[in-house]
Symmetry: C2
Subunit: 387 residues, 2 copies
């Protein structure tokens, strides 16, 4: 190489000089983040005072586009800039959602049954910080349920899936115009139970929260209409102001989609876990041998078993139609095994192609998205099995 | 609220003033990134000249720790700072890995069979940019194979899994000290074939590359030793200099782990795809109904079907022991279905707990890692099904 080599002392001096320069840049970066946070705080405050939504996708797009163009001009990778900005956006949403404007309506006193549960807590926090009067009812408070609901403008049932219908059926009779809502991950049975129980306004909600979601910002909430929509529209508007994206559906469609997604995936992850346990490979070695994509696949199974078995038992066992669905799944599994036993590669490829056609463009999108995700995971040394 | 409200004109003025301040901050951010890149370029150049590794985990840790502390002091979220730094690190690795120092050895002329394939290309690029003489052999070049290998110091077989053993068996006899290596995702059969074929140095390699991996930096490469280790140690050192982490294993252990991870996951994703296709739900609705975690699960299935069926057929059908493994999987699946049919929740919970115990702490780590991943995916609007 035509490069002039430095002796060790000079090399170390040169390197530490450059490292100091890097430290200066990174220090300036943290200072910038601090400055940016103080500005977005003021934006958030103004928006709250004037009942403006915190999350404005259009503004996000503009910000990113402008910085991407600047990056292009200055020879910086625009994707790097976009990734950093999006991470910074998340931060500012999380800091801004402490205060929200209250939508004008007759809804003032909201009772959250199960308000100390994971999901109930989110609603309590948002309602409370938005200026609603919130009462939490947990098991121990049930004796007072009559007096609590007597002044309620809205009741939100946020209890575990296997208790939802019971709780609804055992509610005392509610004020005529009180809104009765549930937030369970199934909708058909709870909605029917609520319509039977209460002659006033009824709505079924399913907040599709991401993990550690910053409140409701950017989260999808499925709305299954029950009765007297006009009465609870303000609450739907309130959820939009909290940042939610509403998606209307019939309870039946919702539940079928849920059993296909949730139940199928939980069950096959469960069986895969059983299988690993029975084969008993060295987990550490298994992880060491896994490329990021397989560590992710393994993590999707592993994560199931860090959670409460009862929760998954309830989801899987709660509906007989799930059993039929899973029996079909088992049949297809056994048929696929026969392809292997008869060494029928051709049919495997043929069936593979049919499924590819069914997925259409979405398959490629999944491939690209998952690649991006894995790069991000790799940045943070996630899914490295502690290695 | 006790806040004084502004009229529209003043509000818009105030907001656009704050937005200009945000734009200034973001502009400064891009400038910082440009400055940082120019510094790390110089670091990379110095390191190349003096044969120093580009990826130094310790230095990474120090940088992050120092900035986290600064963030704490200034009321900025340290996790935000760490996430941004790690993304910036990836960028500088990708820009730095254009030039690497060459490890001293007798290896000069390297023949990459299948050098135009996805994996072969990575080796060709790295070898070439490091100063090795690289010859690529593809199908059409096979007539010249004798003359090409006659001067080879090393041969890397980088062809599809189902052709590897054939190619090895059909190689002409190699120079006595020529290193014969393969990079297939199975190791036992190729290693045996190479040892039979060649009496000189032999090594089996499996680079566990992540998608779009920046060269070999931070990637795991499994090494299955064959013969005359001392001869190819310099090449192992070269891969370390390229940033790889080496993991030694026997070919049998490697292959068993691979069939448990790759084959099982591919096959169950394949069956799940068959099942979705047969149930034929509205995919758009399915995605809309999915919380981020289910979109990820769906994406892990969908991505399979964006790829070549033959590839997966080869991986799954290549080894009869896979069939046994999958038959066991099917048996466990059918047993689990029986739990459902007999509505035996108690046994479901019991078996669930046994698997949780088997996973141990790793289950919780999977849960936490996947949550972090989903937050990052959410930042980038990944896995949103185009919504």
């Amino acid at each position: 190489m035509g490069d002039s080599l430095l002796d060790n002392a000079d090399l170390n001096a040169a390197l530490s000089q450059l490292r100091n320069e890097i430290d200066d840049v990174d220090t300036a970066l943290v200072n910038l983040l601090k400055r940016r946070a103080s500005i977005t705080q003021r934006v958030g405050e103004l928006k709250r005072q004037h009942a403006m939504p915190v999350y404005v996708p259009e503004r996000e797009k503009q910000l990113i586009l402008a910085r991407r163009e600047q990056a292009e001009d200055e020879g910086v990778n625009p994707d790097l800039v976009e990734d950093l900005l999006r991470r910074i956006f998340r931060e500012s949403y999380q800091s801004q959602h402490v205060n929200f404007a209250k939508v004008e309506s007759d809804i003032q006193h909201v009772v959250v049954i199960g308000g100390k549960g994971a999901l109930g807590r989110v609603f309590v926090k948002l309602l409370d910080s938005t200026g609603y009067t919130v009462s939490i009812v947990e098991k121990n408070d049930w004796d007072d349920i009559d007096s609590v609901v007597s002044t309620a403008d809205m009741i939100i049932v946020a209890v575990p899936i296997n208790k939802t219908v019971d709780i609804i059926e055992n509610l005392p009779s509610l004020p005529k115009n009180c809104i009765l809502a549930d937030v369970t991950s199934i909708k058909d049975k709870p909605l029917k139970a609520m319509l039977d129980k209460h002659s006033g306004p009824v709505v079924g909600l399913h907040p599709m929260f991401g993990p550690d979601a910053p409140g409701m910002i950017r989260q999808v909430v499925v709305v299954c209409h029950g009765r007297h929509q006009e009465t609870y529209v303000p609450f739907l508007e309130q959820m939009k102001l909290w940042g939610a994206t509403l998606f209307e559906s019939s309870a039946q469609n919702h539940d079928r989609a849920m059993s296909i997604i949730q139940v199928m995936r939980h069950f096959s992850s469960f069986v895969y876990g059983l299988h690993l346990h029975a084969e008993d490979p060295d987990l550490k070695e298994l992880i060491a041998f896994s490329s990021p994509i397989y560590r992710l696949e393994l993590a999707m199974v592993g994560r199931l078993f860090a959670q409460a078995p009862e929760l998954y038992a309830d989801i899987i066992f709660q509906d007989a139609s799930n059993i039929v669905l899973l029996q079909n799944f088992a049949d297809r599994f056994n048929n696929a095994i026969r392809l292997l036993e008869s060494n029928d590669k051709a049919s495997f490829v043929e069936e593979f192609k049919q499924v590819s056609a069914w997925f259409g463009d979405y398959a490629m999108q999944c491939l690209l998205d998952s690649k991006q995700m894995l790069l991000k995971a790799d940045d943070s040394h996630l899914l490295r099995g502690g290695s």
